[in-house]
């Protein structure tokens, strides 16, 4: 394959490309769907092909194929060149930030490879997990497990001489539990665990214990939780899961430079962040630092070089409240005369690389969770959520707490549920008044682009306190 790709890249240069790159992907996946412990389906598959991107006459052209003969790849390269040339007079006169060629091989070896378990073993394991959770709380009438595993090999080559290989496993286990009490109500909880790991993820991420805890909590919500009667202004303690998600939604996305500059305006939208804020504007409290780090080994967002062949690195997006760095790729770094910080990712060989997050999190602070709780005179503690969303400039956001507690005089009191936390990013970041030491990560699939590209990420945070939130 390497030999054919070299020929294709040479061909692109001869045809006048200033830069060309090829990404080969071989991804083998299994997806298991369990409903109430019964295997409902196993979907297996192989995705294998090459995407070629050329920069010619100031325009990008991208073409892909999964017929991997030299003849077909030259035809694909020609398609990329032809459409780039057609774009010239309507295009953006693109220049990209250049790098030296890199040669590297990055391999993650799982502790328990996906091949070590036959389908029947996987089915048996999840049947047992299902039975455990149902025995704990029999009102959980519907249990849905979606178990996805893949093993991916990627080869990246470009006209700068780079040849970079990544070989990694990935596992994502997602569950939705629905508890029904006909006399009362229905409550649901969805959660996933994921990482560039094999089956060891079940133990590493305490999948069973975490699910059992959720099962008990769902029962408790049905039995004890009340709607929040008292509305008004509260100090709110936000658990790692919601605060981590907010670091992704309210900082990671709006700090993508392509979004800031309008490229995603028709889909994911724009951003409250502006280029002129870089290094100058304080948008959060002193205690707020948000990081994006692709180099957390075995995390969902782990990679060593991005999909434009640029080395990955840790980025401080917000540092002590200040806008510090945006996520960039080669094209957009060039617009602000910066170096790409290695944030270009594509989900599949047939997708263009876009500026993406990896593992985004609020950095840990100095407080213990107990100290944070003790500091609240009248407040609400949000432990988990179901519903969330945010507007397309990433300013107006909502998280609805599922497992929540009323706090009075520094003590946790009764359980409440369906607490809507609806606030602007400006208010939220400036009113973070305590950040815990208990940094934890959670898994997610981040969506962006059109066609939609879902890429694995982690988001994380310690427990935090936000003061003076109005809850209606």
């Amino acid at each position: 394959m390497e030999e054919i790709i070299n020929k294709v890249l040479d061909y692109a240069l001869k045809e006048g490309a200033k830069f060309a790159e090829a990404r080969y992907q071989d991804l083998r996946y299994n997806e298991y769907v369990f409903i109430n412990g019964e295997i409902r389906n196993i979907n297996t598959g192989l995705i294998k092909g090459i995407g070629i991107r050329v920069l010619i006459d100031g325009s990008f052209g991208f073409a892909s194929t999964n017929i991997l003969t030299q003849e077909e790849l030259i035809k694909t390269c020609n398609n990329a060149i032809k459409i780039a040339r057609t774009t010239k007079r309507r295009g953006r006169n693109i220049n990209i930030e250049r790098h030296r060629g890199y040669h590297d091989t990055c391999i993650v070896k799982p502790k328990i490879s996906h091949n070590e378990k036959d389908f029947d073993e996987v089915i048996k394991d999840f049947k047992e997990l299902d039975s455990d959770v149902f025995n704990l709380e029999q009102r959980i009438k519907t249990r849905l497990f979606n178990v996805y595993t893949h093993n991916e090999y990627k080869l990246y080559m470009n006209t700068e001489g780079s040849k970079i290989e990544h070989q990694m496993p990935y596992t994502l286990i997602y569950r939705i539990l629905t508890a029904i009490d006909p006399q009362k109500t229905t409550v649901q909880r969805a959660k996933g665990v994921g990482g560039k790991k094999g089956w060891e993820i079940i133990e590493d991420e305490n999948f069973k214990e975490d699910m059992e805890r959720d099962a008990k909590v769902l029962g408790k919500i049905l039995d004890e939780a009340k709607e929040l009667k008292e509305k008004g202004q509260f100090d709110v303690i936000i658990d790692s899961e919601i605060a981590g998600l907010s670091s992704h939604e309210a900082c990671g996305h709006p700090f993508e430079l392509d979004r800031i500059m309008g490229r995603e305006a028709a889909q994911g939208g724009l951003s409250y962040a502006k280029i002129e804020m870089l290094g100058k504007e304080k948008i959060g409290s002193d205690q707020l630092t948000i990081i994006d780090d692709p180099l957390i080994e075995k995390s969902s967002g782990y990679y060593v070089y991005d999909d434009e062949g640029v080395p990955a690195r840790k980025k401080y997006l917000i540092k002590n409240g200040y806008v510090n760095e945006f996520l960039t790729n080669r094209e957009y770094a060039n617009y602000i005369s910066a170096k790409s910080n290695g944030s270009a990712r594509s989900a599949f060989y047939f997708n263009e690389p876009l500026i993406r997050m990896s593992n985004t999190y609020i950095d840990k602070g100095d407080y213990s969770v107990e100290e944070i709780i003790e500091s609240v005179k009248k407040g609400i503690y949000l432990k988990s959520y179901m519903e969330w969303n945010i507007d397309d400039i990433r300013w107006n956001q909502k998280y609805v707490g599922l497992e929540c507690y009323f706090i009075e005089n520094g003590r946790i009191k009764e359980m409440v549920t369906n607490v809507p936390l609806e606030m602007t990013t400006g208010f939220y970041f400036k009113n973070i008044t305590a950040v815990g030491k208990d940094l934890k990560f959670h898994t997610g699939t981040c969506g962006k682009g059109d066609p939609m590209q879902g890429v694995p990420v982690w988001f994380g945070s310690p427990t935090i306190k936000v003061s003076g939130v109005i809850i209606r």
Binding site: I35, T44, R90, A266, G269, K398, T424
Partner: protein, 441 residues
Amino acid sequence: MNDIERKIESLLNRLQSKGAKDIIIKRTLTEQLIIRYSNNKISIPIINNTWEITLKIGYKNRYLVTSLGDAQFNVDDYADYLIRTVSKMPEDSNYAPIKKSENFIDKLPVDTSVIEYEEKAMDIIENVINESVNKKVKETAGIFTIKIDKIRLLNSLGIDLDDERETVSINHRCLNDASITGQWSSFSRNIKDLNVKPVIEKSTLFLEKNLPVKKIQPGKYDVILSPMIFAQLMERVAMSASAFSVESGLSFLSEKINEKVACEKLSIYDDPNTTRSPGYSRFDDEGIRTYRKDIIEKGILKTYLHNLTTAKKFNTESTGNAGLIVPIPWSIFINEGDMKEEEILKELGNGLLIVNSWYLRYQNYRKGDFSTVLRDGVIEIEKGEEKSYLVGARLSDNFLNIMNAIETLTNLNYPIKWWEVEIPTFAPYALIRNLNITTSE
């Protein structure tokens, strides 16, 4: 017939000789031209050519669904792998044999390649951008897509079908700044039928009017939902009627067959046989003939959408909506009402006209509680007149509540398909009373 097509036939024979039954092989050749634009210029053009087979094979009351995107596969090795894999599956009490069906001949052929459309597509985009800028819009962004799928479907009962499906779509957004935006989309089954006139008019409408901008106050409002947001909500309704959603505990339509789930004015049907929709299809992924069906008729839930497997589980017949795993609608139609579009603001009186939304998330799938962020025009209406452009709004309500509160539908459907509406959907304007609008502090 080329070598790859012969290999597919060999694979079918090889699997049968190894004892597999109820085999379905679907081969899809996809050509796609995607042109993304932003800041009034082309961002990137993309051409994808892919080959894929998806298979469902039965073996001793077990079955397996798989897909293969490697045209260089070895028939014997792959057949061995499939038999080895399916034999490890547990027996399925809902094992559903495939059914014999006719060979259909009434296909609509597509006789060109997407690369031939390249110049024409660029011209359409240039026109949409220029027309918008002429209406004093500062920035435009969007996507234009042409997708051609050439499908061959074989099964172990001797069916060998082919079909050609073409989808052309455009999604166009206009922006005067980050908060003052307009957006519209459209689709057709081929490029000559794509009507961009409403796309330009509707996406620029409230930017041209230059209404005063105000922050919305939370509360209950009477609203008109434009086809952009109404299509999005109705697509969710149709997907909640998929038997897979019902079985998974993810449907607010669970246990409601033949019950009233909406007001009498609402009828939703799935029609795969309308040639004006890219959802036109004569057979589903299991080779079952497709047909028009009411999902909701005058407010009553009439059917769930089934493939052979879900039908067996629910003790009914397939509705021709396979999806080998998840049954899905082909084209969603909302029955039009009788009100003219130009009269609906007067009918509303005071309230909101909501153009679009995104980021719909459920608080509870089973109950249908959700919220979605409103965008691209939330217009304050006072005595039937447009007063101001409101920002910061979120619709936080419940699907069953919304469906029951529909008062009036307009008499013209718009074809809507974009990021938030994947299935081609034909939707009118809807006047709905007393919906819950929230906002952030």
